[in-house]
């Protein structure tokens, strides 16, 4: 019973995470970090799993950045 509830909760968390991650890597990431504007698809795919895992934080960043592009940090980098 406990295991089932645990897995259900994890499934719900992951499901919500997938939706947030998809929207974030498509529309939100450049607002949060201007270094990501115009970044290639591979970059978006590589950060997506982290967005699924940390979606509440990602959502918080996105809301904090609001409409102002570049509200957080500049960036350079790769994997």
């Amino acid at each position: 019973m406990v295991a089932q509830v645990l897995l259900l909760a994890m499934g719900a968390y992951t499901g919500l995470g997938l939706i947030v991650a998809l929207l974030f890597v498509t529309f939100g990431v450049a607002r949060v970090d201007p270094g990501a504007s115009g970044a290639p698809l591979l970059f978006r795919a590589l950060i997506a799993p982290g967005c699924v895992a940390l979606w509440p934080l990602v959502l918080f960043w996105w809301c904090s950045a609001g409409g102002a592009a570049g509200a957080r940090v500049g960036g350079r980098g790769s994997a």
Partner: protein
């Protein structure tokens, strides 16, 4: 390196690094399977699936050991620093192998009943009070979740946005994953193997891991104890040793008592000193070398000009610089950090000094 994010910043070294990693994995899995077929004969026969599951798990834990060992090894033997260059791909590779191991094992041992395989994994054995029957799979699952979090946040985007300090702390969880995996392998072996060979190997590996980290920490502590104030000099200048002994394009790391580490580099223009801490993930700049006229971090190759601590354009990172002079053939460094990016004239080594 690029001014904005890329997917993977491929260059020749990274390609070679990854090619060697993938080839080694394939060779290891092939050798493991071949040896398994020879060694496990009836009545101790092992199916192909079992060999694959064990091979993937063994490869993952060996790679995790390599990930953990190359940090202190590079500290003790600077020639091994290139191994650090693409360590995060090794980490991601470890996670992928662990995931394959877990997926195959879950399907093999829990996938053919009428209960959800994950529910079965969590509920089929609940003897947490017994060492001999402990559900070791759960420990592996917990380790896999930690490795996932680390692999998923390995891109520079996360380092930037989580802040390097938090990112570093998060990635220190690798030691938690390591402890869980050692317990996972040890308990699994206790329950399924008669031969003490695997347990002994795990014990030796853990001892080597601890030993290497202690030796690396001792080496760092020696640097951190601080260099002597320079004799006969006014002010806070510290002695950084004979200028002639400083190898060309390499650094000596010094530290004022209780102060920050400083990397003192000898380069074509003379001797310059910059902060030892890379702006990227805190890599030890003094363990890197001068490439194309720039101090190059041994971890992922970020660069800074020795004369002013600035990354070459189009990059904008800067590290602190320090005043340097040479008195009676010895390098002296003023340990008061100048603002990041402050230009400092290199100290010139007289003609005839050894390289």
């Amino acid at each position: 390196m690029s001014a904005s994010y890329t997917g993977i910043g491929w260059n020749r070294q990274k390609r070679i690094y990854d090619a060697v990693m993938i080839a080694s994995i394939v060779i290891f899995l092939g050798a493991f399977y071949g040896l398994g077929r020879v060694l496990f004969r009836p009545p101790h026969d092992a199916t192909d699936e079992t060999l694959l599951i064990r091979g993937l798990g063994s490869c993952a834990i060996i790679m995790l050991h390599i990930v953990l060992w190359i940090g202190p090894l590079a500290r003790l033997q600077p020639r091994l620093a290139p191994l650090l260059y693409n360590r995060r791909h090794l980490g991601v590779g470890t996670f992928v192998l662990g995931l394959c191991h877990a997926a195959f094992a879950t399907v093999q041992f829990h996938g053919f009943g009428n209960v959800n395989p994950l529910v079965s994994l969590l509920t089929s054995n609940t003897q947490y009070g017994s060492l001999a029957r402990f559900p070791f799979e759960v420990l592996g699952l917990a380790a896999l979740l930690i490795l996932f979090l680390m692999a998923a946040t390995s891109h520079d985007f996360w380092n930037r946005n989580l802040t390097p300090r938090f990112w570093k702390s998060l990635h220190m969880c690798v030691y938690g994953a390591y402890a869980l995996l050692v317990a996972h392998v040890s308990l699994g072996t206790l329950q399924q193997e008669r031969s003490p060979l695997i347990l002994a190997t795990v014990g030796v590996s853990v001892a080597v891991t601890i030993g290497l980290h202690l030796a690396g920490a001792r080496r760092e502590a020696r640097t951190d104890r601080g260099s002597e104030p320079a004799a006969g000099d006014s002010g806070p200048w510290i002695d950084a040793g004979p200028a002639a002994d400083l190898p060309m394009d390499r650094a000596r790391i010094v530290c004022a008592r209780g102060g920050e580490r400083i990397a003192v580099f000898r380069h074509a223009g003379g001797v310059s000193a910059v902060s030892n801490v890379c702006r990227h993930q805190g890599g030890p700049l003094g363990e890197g070398k001068i490439v194309d006229g720039c101090v190059t971090c041994p971890w992922h190759g970020w660069q800074y000009r020795p004369g002013d601590g600035c990354s070459p354009p189009p990059f904008k990172e800067r590290v602190e610089t320090y005043r340097v002079r040479i008195v009676a053939g010895r390098v002296r460094v003023n340990p008061t950090a100048l603002a990041p990016g402050t230009p400092v004239e290199p100290a010139v080594i007289e003609e005839g000094a050894r390289v």
